[in-house]
């Protein structure tokens, strides 16, 4: 750990190098408990403080109850406190360079500027990272953060109602499979479920097979799956995970494919097919575990995060779908009146979508062009007071 010293001037730049994979410093304490996190002890009156200490591997180990003097964190070698150089694509500011003295210049035409007019504005060094080109990506900071931090689910939320319908049904079926077979209870099965979901994060894999499952058996109002269906869907899903024999190459390829979303045409075909029945939307989701996996899978597939409070008690699948769909914008009064042709018979009534201002009235009368020209001739502001105060003599007249 290091308290950042304030240097009088920035040192020469660190040379930019090849594009790296973007490693982030994972919060050290995500694995350990908060109390066991390697918390520094900063001076409280020192406002400005950043921890540059990498996470201590000795502390990240699971606690063992055997006391080993050599492996105790206090006695561990302090190698972890030193950060290893990381290749970067950031452009850091270079050191200060002084311009040559005008007297020493050979150029006879050179004349030093006496005013700031016409000089290029370079801004202060504090705005260095406001410029997109210094982040190493054309999209600047936004693109860097999006790549570095990542997101669980697509960056852009799915908004198309047809696509949402298909993806939500898939999520519900998969959630019921996981909840029914009590998968994800032990750490091993949980890891397996996470792996399967990660490999099918785009929702494309065997979509037709999974969506065709009936989640509302006759005579039931609660969303359930038959046992045979559960096994079948789980087997289908597990097929998405490449076997170890297939090698890392295929895995990489799959991971690249994850970026593509379900094609809209494909979803429309599914929904418009005669086998697509809307009865499943009436299914009630009651199982809390199934709800958790449904929410997680919906977030992964569509990018929508559903708050816990929306899923308390019995919630129908249709209600969940409705939460994700953006409500239609209510029409404006002017649009409604225009559509109805409400005042068409009244020649003296007109409807405007916004307030009619004095300028609008001038424009209707054809005065506005003349007013503008006259104001421009007198170099007066066309709109507003142009910084001039109001008539202060008015106060004298009014006796205030």
């Amino acid at each position: 750990m290091r308290r950042l010293p304030r240097l009088p001037a920035p040192a020469p730049c660190l040379g930019p190098s090849q594009i790296p994979s973007i490693p982030l410093r994972a919060p050290a304490a995500t694995i350990t408990s908060a109390a066991a996190a390697p918390t520094p002890n900063p001076r409280m009156n020192d406002r400005r403080y950043l921890s540059t200490t990498p996470p201590n591997p000795a502390r990240l180990k699971k606690p063992t109850y055997e006391f080993d003097l050599d492996l105790a964190p206090e006695n561990a070698p302090e190698t972890h406190t030193r950060r290893q150089p990381v290749p970067t694509q950031f452009r850091y500011p270079c050191g200060r360079r002084n311009a040559p003295n005008p007297a020493e210049l050979d150029d006879a035409t050179y004349r030093p500027a006496e005013t700031a007019d016409g000089l290029e504005e370079v801004g202060s060094i504090a705005d260095w990272f406001e410029k997109p080109e210094h982040w190493g990506y054309p999209g600047g900071a936004a693109e860097y953060v999006r790549r570095a931090v990542g997101s669980f689910g697509p960056v852009e939320k799915v908004t198309d109602p047809v696509l949402l319908e298909v993806l939500v049904k898939r999520a519900i079926v998969e959630a019921l499979v996981v909840a029914r077979s009590a998968k994800g209870k032990s750490l091993e099965t949980r890891a397996e479920v996470e792996q399967v979901f990660a490999h099918t994060a785009d929702g494309v894999y065997r979509l037709r097979d999974i969506v065709a499952v009936d989640i509302l058996p006759s005579g039931s109002e609660v969303a359930t799956l038959e046992k045979a269906e559960t096994t079948r869907v789980w087997d289908v899903l597990r097929g998405a995970v490449p076997s170890e024999a297939a090698g890392e190459k295929e895995g990489k390829k799959k991971r690249l494919l994850q970026r593509s979303l379900v094609p809209l045409v494909h979803a429309r075909n599914l929904v418009s097919s005669p086998s697509w029945d809307n009865g499943w939307k009436k299914a009630v989701l009651r199982n809390t575990v199934a709800k958790f996996w449904a929410v997680k899978r919906i977030q992964q597939l569509t990018g929508h995060r559903i708050p816990d409070s929306k899923l308390i008690g019995d919630v129908t699948v249709g209600a969940i779908l409705k939460m994700l769909e953006e409500p239609a914008k209510p029409p404006k009064l002017a649009e409604l009146l225009e559509a109805k042709a409400a005042f068409q018979d009244l020649p003296n009534v007109r409807v405007f979508p916004r307030r009619v201002t004095p300028i609008d009235k001038d424009k209707m009368e054809g005065r506005w062009k003349i007013i503008t020209r006259e104001l421009q001739e007198r170099e007066l502001p066309i709109i507003g007071t142009g910084g001039y105060s109001g008539p202060f003599e008015k106060r004298w007249v009014e006796g205030k």
Binding site: P20, P27, A37, S151, D308
Partner: protein, 319 residues
């Protein structure tokens, strides 16, 4: 015979119950319905069915789910069940108002002070003769009537704090949290909530080659973009992060980029802080500690064997 009598009585009582009555509409309501005109903002819907038959078993909601997310990807990682008395209390604006006023009073500095005529320094010589000058009578220059004289009823340092019953204050804490929970503005993260700064920047910072201005500029921009991506930034009402102890990168980041939110340690949080900004992001252990320390009103003095004296803190459903 006696059995028949009891049966008759129970039948009669069932007939009187609310559930047995087919429809309960008051004439006044019906009369009013006739002259209601349609308004654009009117919500049309059936009135909720609040009547309940005696045959139906009343099973009130006892727990609500709380998802624990990872930060900053917000992936749901685990699920806990929390008592409705902890995180699903009804909104009581009056209690929240009491708590906020109580905290405001308590945090008043109360150091305003002015001098009375007895404290103003200077000679106590009579300013002018009692009589003969045509002026009013005047004593010393410390008189409140004089410029630079003492202040008659001026402020003196005092304690402005007011009192509030501990149980009411604790109820206010959980009411504030419940309010956030109901609105979906309480995001619980895994322990160790911190701002993940990139390794390459931290390396440069550890070498000290950037200088304060550039470092601050980087952290500020990085944080702004991170929060904008989550829709948690300035346009979305800012975000309050609450952690168990001080996390250097998160807290420094929030001080540098304060327009997007704030970070607070658990000890610094007040009810008012829970009600400000667009959302509360709190780590799991901090929420647990917060509710644990503010549940004095839930302890029952009457102990029934087999029943808990107070609701259990969150229990894991999915780990």
């Amino acid at each position: 015979m006696a059995g028949k009598g009891v049966k008759c009585l129970s039948e009669a009582l069932r007939g009187l119950s609310l559930g047995a009555q087919p429809c309960r509409t008051t004439p006044a309501r019906q009369a009013a319905m006739g002259c209601i005109r349609s308004m654009a903002t009117a919500v049309e819907g059936k009135p909720s069915n609040i009547t309940r038959s005696v045959d139906e078993v009343y099973t009130p909601l006892t727990t609500v789910p709380v998802t624990i997310h990872s930060f900053p990807t917000l992936e749901p990682r685990s699920l806990e069940a929390w008592s409705t008395k902890h995180l699903y209390l009804p909104l009581r604006r009056d209690i929240l108002h009491l708590a906020v006023v109580y905290e405001g009073d308590k945090t008043r500095q109360g150091t305003a002070s002015s001098k009375t005529r007895w404290e103003v320094a200077g000679s106590h010589r009579k300013m002018r003769p009692q009589k003969g000058l045509g002026h009013a009578r005047l004593g010393t220059r410390q008189s409140p009537l004089m410029r630079h004289g003492g202040k008659t009823f001026g402020p003196k340092p005092r304690d402005f704090s007011t009192k509030l019953n501990r149980k009411v204050y604790d109820l206010a804490w959980r009411t504030a949290l419940s309010y956030r929970y109901r609105r979906g503005e309480l995001i619980v993260t895994e322990d160790g909530l911190d701002l993940p700064l990139p390794d390459e920047f931290l390396y440069a910072a550890s070498k000290g080659v950037l200088g304060r201005e550039v470092e601050d500029g980087f952290v500020s921009k990085y944080l702004a973009e991170l929060l904008a991506g989550l829709q948690w930034g300035r346009e979305y009402g800012r975000t309050t992060f609450i952690t168990g102890d001080r996390r250097p990168n998160l807290f420094t980041g929030m001080e540098v980029g304060g327009e997007n939110g704030r970070a607070l340690e658990l000890d610094e949080v007040d009810v008012k802080d829970l009600l400000e900004t667009g959302r509360i992001v709190i780590e799991r252990s901090a929420l647990r500690e917060m509710i644990k320390t503010h549940s004095s009103d839930l302890v029952q003095r009457v102990q029934v064997p087999g029943l808990r004296t107070k609701p259990q803190l969150g229990t894991a459903i999915v780990q």
